[in-house]
């Protein structure tokens, strides 16, 4: 079955069972691998993408849920890869293994869109669903603050 959505600004038809999680449709069928699998149950945030500007877990969002919506993955976050969050991540040398970071970056970008000047509590509340087993949380928090500052 064909499901149509906008992916990173382009209309895209995906030929798959509409119950397929968006994550696997994006990764295995469309072939964009920046969005990561971590748990499959909405418990880790590795698969975070934007749907109509909101952060969603693509592992628990079906293709059918995404039909007709605007989906953005890490590959489409900014045309030149220089979104303020990406730049802040580089400035703070956030990544260790890096695997969780696309999800962290998408979550942080959605937070800053909604709350351009988040408090520490806002940051913790927004980011608590994203696991980093390497333990880069301190730098993630600092990078989000820098990105917010840079946009002032």
């Amino acid at each position: 079955m064909m499901v149509t959505l906008r992916l990173n600004g382009t209309r895209r038809s995906v030929d798959a069972d509409p119950q397929t999680p968006l994550l696997w449709a994006i990764r295995d069928i469309v072939g964009l691998t920046g969005t990561k699998f971590g748990c499959g149950i909405g418990a880790c945030g590795a698969c975070t993408v934007h749907m109509d500007g909101q952060a969603v877990r693509s592992c628990t969002t079906t293709l059918a849920d995404a039909e007709g919506h605007d989906v953005v993955t890490i590959e489409g976050l900014s045309p030149d890869g220089a979104h303020p969050v990406q730049r802040a991540w580089e400035a703070h040398n956030v990544p260790q293994c890096g695997y969780c970071q696309p999800g962290q970056i998408m979550q942080a970008a959605a937070l800053l869109k909604q709350t351009p000047h988040p408090t520490d509590q806002d940051i913790v509340a927004a980011m608590a669903g994203n696991i980093c087993r390497c333990g880069t949380y301190l730098r993630i928090q600092a990078a989000i603050k820098s990105a917010a500052e840079a946009e002032k």
Partner: protein
Amino acid sequence: MTTIVNMSRRGVVKGIAGMTGLVLGFHVGSRILPFAAAATPTTFVPNVYLAIDETGLVTIVAHRSEMGTGIRTGLPMVLADELEADWTRVKVIQAQGDAKYGDQNTDGSRSVRQFYQPMRVAGASARQMLEAAAAHMWGVTVNDCRARNHMVVHVPTGRQVAFGDVAKVAATLEVPPDDRLELRFKPASERRYVGKPIPIVDLNDIVRGKAIYGIDVVLPGLKYASIERCPVYGGTISTFDATESLKVPGVEKVVAIPAAAIPSGFNPLGGIAVIASNTWAAQQGRERLKITWDFGANASHDSDAYRAQLEATAKQSGRVVRNQGSVDSALASAARRVSADYFVPYYAHAPMEVPTATANVAANKCEIWAPTQFPQGARATVAAVLGLPLDDVTVNVTLLGGGFGRKSKPDYVAEAAVLSRLVGAPVKVTWTREDEIRHDYYHAICAQHLEAGLAADGRATSWLHRTVFPAIESTFQPNITYGSSGELQQGVTDMPYAIENVRCENGPAAGQVRIGWYRSVYNIPHAFAVCSFADELAHAAGKDPVEYLRELLGQPRKLDFAAMHVDYPNYGASLDAYPVDTGRLRGVLDLVARNSEWGRPLPPRQGRGVAVHRSFLTYVAAIVHVAVGDDGQVAIPRIDVALDCGLVVNPDRVRAQFEGAAIMGISNALYSNISIKQGRIEQSNFSDYQVARTDITPQTHIHIVESSAPPGGVGEPGVPPIAPAICNAIFAATGRRIRALPVDPAALKAT
């Protein structure tokens, strides 16, 4: 001894082959690299290659696996620095798994320790060859030529030639044999990169979603597999019915992977694999399998009962692994006796990238793409399960989405290989998170019993330590019940306190699940017990815990293992170069105490705890500040860590490793626990196997001792002191002593 060979005309490395220019290979002669013993000056087995092409691009092969430590950046930094290369013109490529690189098993926090010097040698000798080539070109004396930032300069005239232009000339020169090559290393003051916070080479790709991990590998015609394995270790399939699975759109085949006999080592656990056109279809097909299992011998394994058994064993005398003085009589005559029992559960690794691998078996050759810490082990395992010669198996190493020891074991790589052969197409195996939690090589469960005698003034005069745990070797060999010297060195036989009478013992335990290395390994339970018990003694003596630790550490000295009848492997390093030096423990203790507000008053139900521990040749002290809520929930406002790892290559990555280790230590202390009933793991995913999240993150301050001592480990040593420091802080805050992990908040409620 390091042998250098000019490889320019051999073209032996993928990515370098075909380049014109200078290619240097070298190998390290060392007793830890057994292949080198067989090597002669003519039969050369290199472990690293360096190429400089005519455009001046420097290509360095990273032969160790990148799982987040920054090693793929750190070792090339060392080489580039000695080479006088411009870092912006250096490209790093990843080596395949091949014995010619020497040891590639990226574990044990030893990449910098083992390869810092070889990298310097490679860089320095290449630099000197470029200088020699420039001198030859100009017809001047080589002593007047100096490499400077990707150029060679003729010092008297200021003439310059770019690395690229001189590389071609250099390629025609022979490398002087090492007894004639007088290597000149750069003075430390001239280092451009070593000791500087250089960003990792993959940073840009990572933040743009372009970095390729094992799970991201795609090949033409790729099939996707999901495997149902027996919930009990060692179980086998009685019958299965795949009718419903095969009806799932996208599912193409269902095949059985034979189970290896247990202990299964690195071999696949066996199971039923569903092969499909995408991962999701494979998982859906798998859910519709009907399988009856023969659960086998481990179906009665119950972690509660097992714990009770380990604890009972720890109460009895065991095999003596360290002995000084006379513990029994000293205990009997002590003014005061203290004893305590400690427990640490099984843990799962839970790297964010699950085990995954892609294999293509065609024409009786196998090519692998995998996130593996141990590419040569993967290669050997695949060759063995497929019955192929080693030369017909190629292992390409991707980035690893975390490893922590899990990806040293190549069972998942062998699964992909077996499946690719069975279905005649390239296959990617991707574990689910449930698979990862339920079929891990678990961190060993461990029970310990400690006793000490104190003199009237509070001084410790005797120390008895018994530890009981299933050994890692039990995953590989039948009938293994005792720990190895390598396991017991991790916080037992190297107990650093200056106590006259010491006896350490190890009691037997049989393995009933796969046991494996998990970041910092047996240092986790042993540091937990030893550093908690030191705190208990301080309180028994009525002394400040930092002050008491200073007394326990005593006068700076190097542990004399022979005198203690201890077989001490010292993480594979020589005790001459890397002694166990209590002065350095004292150094990190003092450093952390000075910088952590130790002694500053705190509100009620808050406290600080301290722990100091050496592991992987690095000395670490931690002071943790906790705040315990009335509901028993533990918050951690601040952690200070002081470390002495000798020479630091990349201070920012060292900090990052210790920041991350603090978080992993918090996971171990407060959240994570694997429990087993009827041989089945009770946890399944991050919903019930908890790990630290951003909300617990403390302000973390890392204090690094400046040192030019030989480099020690960095990836693992930050973990062990965290859990005991947290629990000691909880005691300071609440008066409740935690002796079993993870911490149970119910036991910490305000009454």
